[in-house]
């Protein structure tokens, strides 16, 4: 996947780390110390539609441009910048009875983005 470097307007993964101490949740969340709430942002012009989020070869881009130009007039929704790889978030926390709870929340951290 491509990480946003600030200048790109194309579909990429924006990293965003939430420090539990900063939001005052470190007293009830034992582990981890924070949560990488990464998200996908940026544009998906037609010639990169369907790209799995990797740097496409020049040939593929040209081929897709041709496809896009021929179908440019076709109706149909655009392509969106969406997560293409995600992993679980393991949490260890206190519940309101001060029990210790451990759980793995599936698909909680975005690892890569790509165009639908």
């Amino acid at each position: 996947g491509i990480d946003c470097q600030g200048v790109s307007r194309m579909c990429c993964r924006q990293e965003f780390f939430v420090d539990f101490r900063e939001i005052g949740w470190h007293d009830w969340i034992i582990q981890p110390e924070g949560y990488a709430m990464n998200f996908c942002t940026g544009q998906c012009p037609l010639h990169v539609a369907g790209m799995p989020g990797i740097a496409a070869s020049f040939y593929t881009a040209v081929l897709n441009l041709l496809k896009a130009n021929t179908v440019a007039g076709a109706a149909g929704g655009g392509s969106c910048c969406v997560p293409t790889a995600r992993r679980p978030l393991s949490l260890l926390y206190y519940d309101r009875d001060s029990n210790i709870v451990k759980t793995d929340i599936p698909d909680m951290v975005v690892e890569a983005c790509g165009c639908s």
Partner: protein, 218 residues
């Protein structure tokens, strides 16, 4: 990556200034975590747990549940460690009360497996039997009745683990479990169930939160 004052490349809408954007993202992160934990709000801790008890208990936690979550029934697996409140204990018996939060906004908790961990201090060369009684309260009155009992041989000071059966699991699912530990035979004279900070008895439970009903999303 929306620049303040520009146009957002993703949605084309007006962009937020970076501080507002950060506030929005932090709020989304909080709601996302609480939603996935089936909590309506962050817990406020009723009684802090000592670091010694926390350390002892975490050594009992197993690794992450193996395998992917069964998407079919959309359940989520939890491991819960509940520390005992030592209520009406006497010289002859130790009563332990455990509370399991029912603060989950959606879903009923199903206890898949539960075990009791407790520390016994024995006089040198003393051995004996410990009778662990599972008491359940009748929904119509507060009296506790004996559901099952387990006899455990104790022959040295240390931590003991006892796997609890379906009656205890049901009591945990209902939110409240009461156990009574009664030393018998030689153990009755020379044994003590420790309940201090580092030796606080606790129950570990493997819990699944099933969807009580599918939450209709707008």
């Amino acid at each position: 990556t929306c620049r303040a004052g520009g146009q957002c490349p993703a949605c084309g809408g007006p962009t937020l200034d970076l501080e507002s954007q950060r506030e929005l993202l932090l709020d989304m992160a909080k709601r996302s975590i609480l939603d996935k934990l089936h909590l309506s709000q962050r817990p406020t801790l009723s009684q802090p747990v000592s670091r010694a008890a926390l350390r002892t208990a975490l050594q009992c936690l197993h690794g992450p549940p193996q395998g992917a979550f069964p998407e079919a029934n959309r359940a989520q697996d939890y491991e819960i460690i509940s520390f005992a409140d030592t209520g009406l204990s006497t010289i002859n018996q130790t009563r332990l009360d455990f509370h399991f939060s029912s603060d989950r906004t959606t879903g009923v908790i199903e206890v898949q497996q539960a075990s009791l961990m407790f520390f016994v201090q024995l006089l040198p060369n003393a051995t004996g039997t410990l009778n662990v009684k599972v008491l359940v309260s009748d929904p119509h009155n507060t009296n506790l009745t004996l559901a099952t009992q387990h006899l455990l041989e104790v022959d040295a000071s240390g931590w003991y683990q006892l796997f609890l059966g379906p009656d205890a699991q049901d009591a945990c699912s209902q939110g409240h479990l009461t156990l009574e530990l009664v030393p018998e035979g030689q153990a009755a004279q020379g044994s003590v169930i420790l309940v201090g900070a580092a030796h606080r008895p606790f129950v570990t439970a493997q819990v699944r939160v099933g969807d009580k009903h599918r939450v209709h999303r707008r």
